[in-house]
Symmetry: C2
């Protein structure tokens, strides 16, 4: 695999529920925010050109188009993607990363398809069986990296350890957190708690030169006590989606309460700016862009329903990770820890 | 096991972080709310008497005291509880349920200890290997029953099916929901999603005469689309605690925002009543009292940190479940479904 220009991003223009209407203006916004970035928009050229034409001040010298005939449907599973995705925008965007013409790929397409095509084309780092999907969970003054989110439903102790290392490297490089605190999610913090895989991983993590803080519980994801929270993909997926549901419900209830009477509407008018300021950093859209860790190059999954602002975040996230060489750092850490554990 | 008076509750006076200071006034409050109930306060008699003396209008004709010498520490695990708990308030409270002198037991003591002693003394219903812990998750206009919450870290398909039946029976009897909608938590709602145990349970649940709505995702816990959400104890525990952490964080941020400036403080004053009205039903304390399902009698676990109001809720919940004979109904449903699946 040849070294790619980390500033060059391949963007799956048809990934996500809204397609080019979101991805193209998001790419323009990202490139205007980070002027070092360049983008190849991969998809049906006429549609992309049309979307580009409606963007004001598009930095056209940093934007290219690569035509792809097909679009993978959002619900295409891994098998469909592998069998029939060969001409799709997702396939070609990943191919550009694989052949070194782009430093990172961003797609809002289906997770299963992205994972299968990512593994097939970009390939896994040595010693890894499967990639892991990581999300940034927003907190008031920081964020917690959480993985896995559904790529691995059953995990071994070894996989949990790998997640911990990959999460720590990514948090360190993406957020410039020195020695990120890594916690292993469990039903209690005492040594004997949990099932065999978490207990074995717990013992192994204590031996590594990671800033491993031990077992943590569900609420620690939101306490700011850890920078990285590690768990199997089944639990991680349920936790993340339950959190999204709960946050939506609470914010809705608040909104309804604030519009329920004349007094509360007046109160909302007065307190509105402060409330918006408090909630803004907690908006998941601000932290969109889940890296698919364990691949040889940067591949970032955007939320399927992302709007332009959220998609812009995912593109900027991919740019940061590519520039900081997250996959190479993960590989180096894996090797270092491998040596350590074998010594 | 002789039939017990369902109105007679055995209350572990030392269960929970605050002991008699919370349990005794909570018992008084519960008995004043539900005048059919009677309580036996189990614990160190002098301490209970003292706490009772400071309660105004205690219905002393409906309160008894049963002396217990010992207190099980909150962190006592199952082994410690079984080995050294014989003179503890928790042990004696459960014994009263087992020997028919009480219709239900309430304790805010450690979950592991309560489960171990519950199984040993009260016993499991036929065909069950382990009990499941169920929580009521508050929504604006209803609540979702979620189980298991950590009693069973690894579950089989058969156990997930049993959880579904037990949850449905409890939701139906406790909340008078007709034909409660039961969902199986998974990483997606399509048939092929998830690991083997959930897929097998999904197939089995479709065959039962339950109102089974199929796979649901994390956010559905808060959508009001299901009355009962079923999962393994590892995920359930993480989801519940993550939700608690997130809710606490969001409410704190809101509170901080509302006190951050003169305008927002004025706004809070105006909107305060509406906000409090909206948040009140979502307070977990209002839904305290997690039934330990699968035992032959009603055993309800209160949150260890419960205050008087929350503990009162748990006691009232135990009274409701005892009166409606939840364990007998679970047993009957289990048998009915057993016949169905064997036919």
């Amino acid at each position: 695999m040849t070294a790619a220009d980390p500033a060059m991003l391949a963007i799956d223009a048809h990934g996500g529920d809204h397609g080019v209407v979101v991805t193209v203006p998001a790419a323009v916004a990202a490139l205007r925010t980070d002027t070092r970035l360049q983008a190849v928009l991969v998809g049906r050229e006429p549609e992309i050109r049309q979307a580009l034409a409606s963007c004001r001040q598009a930095p056209s010298d940093r934007i290219q188009i690569r035509h792809a005939e097909d679009i993978l449907p959002m619900d295409a599973g891994p098998a469909t993607a592998l069998r029939r995705g060969r001409k799709s925008s997702m396939w070609l965007a990943l191919q550009m990363v694989a052949d070194g013409s782009a430093g990172a790929c961003v797609s809002g397409g289906g997770t299963g398809a992205l994972m299968a095509l990512g593994v097939k084309q970009v390939g896994l780092l040595p010693g890894l069986q499967r990639p892991a999907l990581m999300a940034w969970v927003p907190l008031p003054h920081c964020r917690t990296a959480m993985l896995d989110l559904g790529a691995n439903l059953h995990v071994s102790a070894r996989q949990l350890v790998q997640f911990a290392v990959m999460g720590a490297v990514t948090a360190e490089t993406a957020d410039r957190v020195e020695n990120p605190r890594v916690g292993l999610l469990n039903v209690g913090h005492e040594d004997g708690k949990g099932h065999e895989a978490v207990r074995e991983a717990h013992a192994a993590l204590k031996e590594l030169r990671l800033n491993y803080v031990g077992f943590v519980e569900g609420h620690d994801i939101y306490s700011g006590n850890v920078d990285v929270a590690v768990c199997d993909g089944f639990s991680g997926n349920l936790i993340l989606k339950a959190s999204e549901g709960l946050a939506r419900m609470l914010v809705n209830e608040f909104r309804n309460a604030l519009s329920s009477s004349l007094a509360s509407r007046l109160g909302a008018l007065l307190a509105g700016p402060a409330i918006r300021r408090a909630l803004a950093p907690l908006d998941p859209a601000e932290h969109n862009g889940a890296p698919l860790l364990g691949l040889k190059r940067v591949v970032v999954k955007s939320h399927g329903g992302a709007d332009c602002r959220a998609m812009t975040r995912a593109i900027l996230e991919a740019g940061r990770e590519a520039r900081r060489g997250v996959p190479d750092r993960i590989e180096a850490s894996m090797q270092a820890f491998q040596l350590e554990t074998e010594a």
